[in-house]
Symmetry: none
Amino acid sequence: MSEPTPLRRVEDHSEELRAADGRVPGLRGRATRQRLLACTLEMLTSTSYRDVKVIDIAREAGTSPATFYQYFPDVEAATLVLAEEMAQQGQHLRLIITEGSWLEGEAMATALELVDAFLVFWDSHRSVLRVVDLATDEGDGRFQKIRVRLLNDITTALAEVVRQAQKAGRIPKTIDPMAAAGVLVAMLAHTAAHQYGFEFWGIRTAKLRQSMARQVSWGVTGIIPPD
Amino acid sequence: MSEPTPLRRVEDHSEELRAADGRVPGLRGRATRQRLLACTLEMLTSTSYRDVKVIDIAREAGTSPATFYQYFPDVEAATLVLAEEMAQQGQHLRLIITEGSWLEGEAMATALELVDAFLVFWDSHRSVLRVVDLATDEGDGRFQKIRVRLLNDITTALAEVVRQAQKAGRIPKTIDPMAAAGVLVAMLAHTAAHQYGFEFWGIRTAKLRQSMARQVSWGVTGIIPPD
Amino acid sequence: MSEPTPLRRVEDHSEELRAADGRVPGLRGRATRQRLLACTLEMLTSTSYRDVKVIDIAREAGTSPATFYQYFPDVEAATLVLAEEMAQQGQHLRLIITEGSWLEGEAMATALELVDAFLVFWDSHRSVLRVVDLATDEGDGRFQKIRVRLLNDITTALAEVVRQAQKAGRIPKTIDPMAAAGVLVAMLAHTAAHQYGFEFWGIRTAKLRQSMARQVSWGVTGIIPPD
Amino acid sequence: MSEPTPLRRVEDHSEELRAADGRVPGLRGRATRQRLLACTLEMLTSTSYRDVKVIDIAREAGTSPATFYQYFPDVEAATLVLAEEMAQQGQHLRLIITEGSWLEGEAMATALELVDAFLVFWDSHRSVLRVVDLATDEGDGRFQKIRVRLLNDITTALAEVVRQAQKAGRIPKTIDPMAAAGVLVAMLAHTAAHQYGFEFWGIRTAKLRQSMARQVSWGVTGIIPPD
DNA sequence: GATGAATGAGGTTTCATTCAT
DNA sequence: TATGAATGAAACCTCATTCAT
């Protein structure tokens, strides 16, 4: 009989997780790390990014700063992990585009579905996305990479829809599909990020969704949306 | 008829500007203040907002931190002033909308003009706008107010164009003009802010402009733009 | 005929007042100096001595720190002047002792008068006296001198009463009159300084006065006071 | 009968002491804290309260300011702890009053013992008492509380002696015992605090003691002290 | 006589970071 | 694995102080 239970527990949950001292963290260690991540997220949500400090995260997590350094070199590193997790979860947005129908009479519904998904996603990740946007803007390559990874699939998928519309002769050939898609993604991202800002003008979310969806629908299909 | 507006505007600074000790600064003081503002802008451009320090601004301006504190309570306060100046200068964007023609055959040119103005304006104020966006997102009311002031006129102007199109029957009555306009402004703002991000996909600025202008043009007039 | 009106106005209001630049201040200057003194007193009253700053005094007086330095080298110097003025005004306490009657049947009334005068005086000069006491305690000779000047006359006057009582055989010859007087002055000063502290124990001022006067009356005359 | 009080008191520090970061300090930490307290006391003794700085205390203690802030928010807080310790040690003064005899012929000796204890106690705690007095005067409730705690037992004990004398008919019933006692404590406190000031008048300590004791003795018993 | 303006100097305070346990 | 404890380093911030006007 073979040895079914190895003495050394197989823990391949993470292929590369290492603590500061080089050791691969065990169960307890990973729990601590996770707690620190959660608290980083919490601080990011409740505090201006400028003011998020290792000390506060540690206190929030009920540990000491020394423990934080066991798992992350600095706040930015922890934020980077959060950003990666977030980007991971954003992949479903692409499916809405590729699996939805963009045929006449159905495009608007698909667009609305996409808009809603954007609004929800951005809202539940606003604090991390805020930092991603800022850091990207400030030229931080690591965050920029994550941002691209998040948006690339979406943009590419939308561009493909544009390309179909060009084949069908509904969108001029002179249009660059990626440019068209990118512009729409920008609109979705920004509107989603600042959706509460629109309240200032008394604009109701329903109307906002409608306008967003119209632009997307027309933008990628060239079909004039019905009322 | 006589000219009621004097060529040299009478500057009524006296009532607003105050140094830290409550006094109204004189000529020399105002010059120093201005120099500090310029250096704050410079630091904001070259450094991550997180890392902009009073001491650096002061050094850059050839003064001491104490002097900085004579005029501003902290970096944020100076940034706020810069943001206000920026918003002031953004007012011309509105004129492009109100004075341009949105008639068939001309709308696309006007839209392009607007897009270009946006790109230029955002580019030359990117560092301040970046902070305005961040702070607004973080819930800072003062920055939010400035942001609204900057975008409000533009959005309102665009909404008026939408309203005309609705009268002409080219845009459905169910559309909320402000929502439609707001979405387009969001697109313009975000694309402008991240225009260099598009380079990643090899999208050329010309194509980007075209796509932006198309969305704007159709969005506010309902007229399908020519190739 | 002699020259009755000198060209140079005779201003001998103060024999030695000099501003920082060596000039003898005129009318306006003296007014400013007085205002600064008043504000110093005010700050001393409203703020912990530790936290009284030149800057605050100046602001309070509606001038700039530079003006303060025109008249005083530092806060301590201004306080010293206030202390001197205070000591000046304390001279009347001596008269109560020397001009009052310490005969049997009248001593208690005189003692009460003295006690009341002490309570009033200390109360209206508490903030300055507080600093005088502190600085004296900390070994500052200048303040100590003022303190002595204030208390010396009182103590000496009381000691003289003691001496009379010794002659009359009502107080033992072994007693040092100055020691006896000094102890009583200490009691008066401290009780007066902390009179509000007694409220804690629910002791009414009337009872406090009575107790103080009894100790004084007996202490200097040897006569047992009536109920 | 068994001894219910253990020789070694069980110290229940654990619930009170907290470092700045909210943690309960261990052995080493408590030692450092103690060292900082000792140095604060030293600075208080050698320097004017106005000029006691965190940086000096830290230097004196051979640590850095950062360490000081780990244990105290500011100089005042450390002083407050010192004051509390001091008040603790002042409790023995009460025993002299309650356990001493105030009978005719013995009262003066007890009074002298009390006076001496006061002089010694005040002398060995002068620097802290100086701050306590000042802060109390300036309206700082925390110091006032400590001051009251220190003096309360003594005053109450003396008042009880007065009450006995009233029963024996040697002190008028109209006297408020607490007032009488409070006035005497004030005298003791102030004379002790300024005992060196009396040197100015060439008053010898022996004579001062005598005068103080006479006032106390008569004040609480109504018995005329012998020479 | 008064004071804008500037700033050297120095204490305060906060943190990231390390290390021994 | 976790963390008390300590601290270098650096920014913050405030003031006293000066000087030219």
